[in-house]
Amino acid sequence: MPERELTFAQAVREALAEEMRRDSSVCIFGEDVAEAGTPFKVLSGLVEEFGAERVLDTPISEAGFTGIGVGAAMTGLRPVVDIMFGDFLTLTMDQMVNQAAKAHYMSGGHWKVPMVLRTTLGATRRSAAQHSQSLHAWFSHVPGLKVVLPSTPYDAKGLLKTAIRDENPVVFFEDKMMYKLKGQVPADDYTIPLGVADVKREGDDITLVATSSMVQVALGAAVLLEKEGISAEVVDPRTTWPLDEKTILDSVKKTSRVIVMDEGYGRYGVAAELAAVIAEGAFYDLDAPVKRMGAMHVPIPFSPPLEDVTVPTEETVYKAAKEMCAKS
């Protein structure tokens, strides 16, 4: 398998290009996805290869074109709908939750909605409260949807290809701050199943369960911890639904201590679910309560010194992990 270094953005683009070559029913639409290739330039070159019938710029109508995605998916296409910032998902909730998620069930299994909603999450870009949210918990809460949170270029390509081939609506979240992150990515066709967690680093003393942007933070913290003689295991669920509980629980049972990290709000969020699953499934194995680390429960502030304290960092995770290992 030839491997090259690609950025996260390139890996996403490659997945899209490969799937579009493979299957003519795959198409992309969203705001400024064609010539502009999105503000993040993730889609650059696709309209040139696949034409304006398959890569379509839309008006600023998130609800409308998401709905069009649902209908197109029901009738023979595999649309990849682009929502520029995850914050604008607020406008798509009816189409995603009342329509996309339920069409298969409500029709007794007759209609299918094989669409992907690609969007972003993450703060620290100095974009303030309406451009910094990580709203994947909402979708994880809704039966009928699948939710994917890649954390490396490799995962991004493999998971996106799977998402496009999936027969269900999949919401695919990319961390905006990660687009330039580099990693090894095979040049050929490969897919990663949804619902399979990945142990990003092995360790014995403590488990860091981390999603999306937090995976890199966890890996950084693990390096710091190593210097203190603490061996941290980093588990990346990769999808919040379906959720690979077994891999998470196996790790926690081995280490007996766990911090769950997710860039969404911790309260009523993904970190809450992970904590609940672990507290239940590893109840007799835990030496200390599960610790949650997520975005501080505030609208994300613009001012850099304020914004910086709202999100877990290598330092804060390192400290929390060290303290936990010392205590128990």
Partner: protein, 334 residues
């Protein structure tokens, strides 16, 4: 499906005028009698939940669906039995769905507000007002992209004019020249509020602003509706883009079967006037007789056949079994 209820095919053009308008009549009668049974089921406490009856509005669904191919798409509403039947669904499986039975179109999971049927291109009724405007437009997008010549019809009540997503998708449909027809069934009421209290300006102006072809039709006159629909469908199929049709009509019953005391929002006189003067079935029956396409006895025969069909369908549904409880978590994911 018996031949009398068979969905007309493209070859319909060749069929005689007489047959065409008799079939339209029959379809309207079937819907009316279907709804009578629904009300009966509700009154006899045999139906779980509620249902929204289409009686009075039959000419709209029939006029339009008679202009469609079986593989054309429709999306429908909470008041969807008429669209569903007009597009070709079978009453037995519809009743079964209304009663939550496994034999229903959605295996009992959808109920009255969610009947869907791929075989007749019915993408589903929708309990969110305006909830299917995107779906219909998306189906038109897929048709265009796949080049399969299908047209999508999006039925909604005038209440859906309040939903912003309608304007979003009309804009896109016009930009992309999609074969979709928005059909606004203006029955004068959004639940318990007269539409004049919720609708500023004009209805057709809402679509015209986007450069969309607009048309109006008397929604009690099945031939008038059909004529306009035929033109708009032809345009759409020829790649000339979307259209918007306003059909003025009236619902005879309450907003739903439980809405019995309606005088605080509309008068009995008003209801009576529509029923007496503007009933789509009466109007069509008078015309058929006038044209000598049928006599009273022939029309009575159609009614009797339809009644028998509906009674048998109800019977089927009432005695059909519920889904087994373990089906509850089937069909969540494909």
């Amino acid at each position: 499906m018996s031949t009398v209820t068979a969905k007309p095919e493209a070859s319909r053009e060749a069929a005689s005028e007489k047959d065409k308008w008799l079939r339209a009549y029959r379809q309207m009668v079937r819907i009316r009698l279907f709804e009578e049974q629904v009300n009966e089921l509700y009154t006899r406490a045999l139906m779980p939940g509620l249902a929204h009856l289409y009686s009075g509005e039959e000419a709209v669904a029939v006029g339009i669906c008679e202009a469609l191919r079986i593989d054309d798409y429709i999306t429908s509403t909470h008041r969807g039995h008429g669209h569903c039947l007009a597009k070709g669904a079978s009453p037995d499986r519809m009743f079964a769905e209304l009663l939550g039975k496994e034999a229903g179109y959605c295996r009992g999971k959808g109920g009255s507000m969610h009947i869907a049927d791929p075989a007749t291109g019915n993408l589903g009724a929708n309990a969110i007002v305006g909830g299917s405007v995107g779906i219909a437009t998306g189906a038109a997008f897929a048709s265009k992209r796949l080049g399969n010549g299908r047209v999508a019809v999006c039925f909604f009540g005038e209440g859906a004019l309040g939903q912003g997503s309608l304007y979003e998708v009309m804009n896109l449909a016009q930009l992309w020249k999609l074969p979709v027809i928005y059909v606004c069934e203006n029955n004068l009421y959004n639940e318990y509020t007269h539409y004049s209290e919720t609708t500023a300006g004009t209805i057709l102006g809402r679509a015209a602003a986007f450069g969309i072809e607009t048309a109006a039709a008397d929604g009690q006159d099945v031939r008038a509706v059909n004529e306009v629909a035929t033109r708009l469908v032809k345009r759409a199929r020829a790649g000339e883009g979307p259209a918007f049709l306003q059909a003025d009509t009236y619902r005879y019953s309450g907003h739903h079967v439980g809405d019995i005391n309606r005088e605080y929002y509309r008068s009995k006189t008003e209801e009576q006037r529509w029923k007496t003067d503007r009933d789509p079935i009466k109007l069509q029956s008078n015309w058929l007789i006038e044209q000598r396409y049928a006599d009273a006895a022939a029309l009575e025969q159609i009614t009797m056949e339809a009644r028998a069909e509906m009674e048998a369908a109800v019977k089927f549904a009432v005695t059909a079994p519920y889904p087994s409880v373990d089906q509850v978590d089937e069909d969540i994911y494909a």
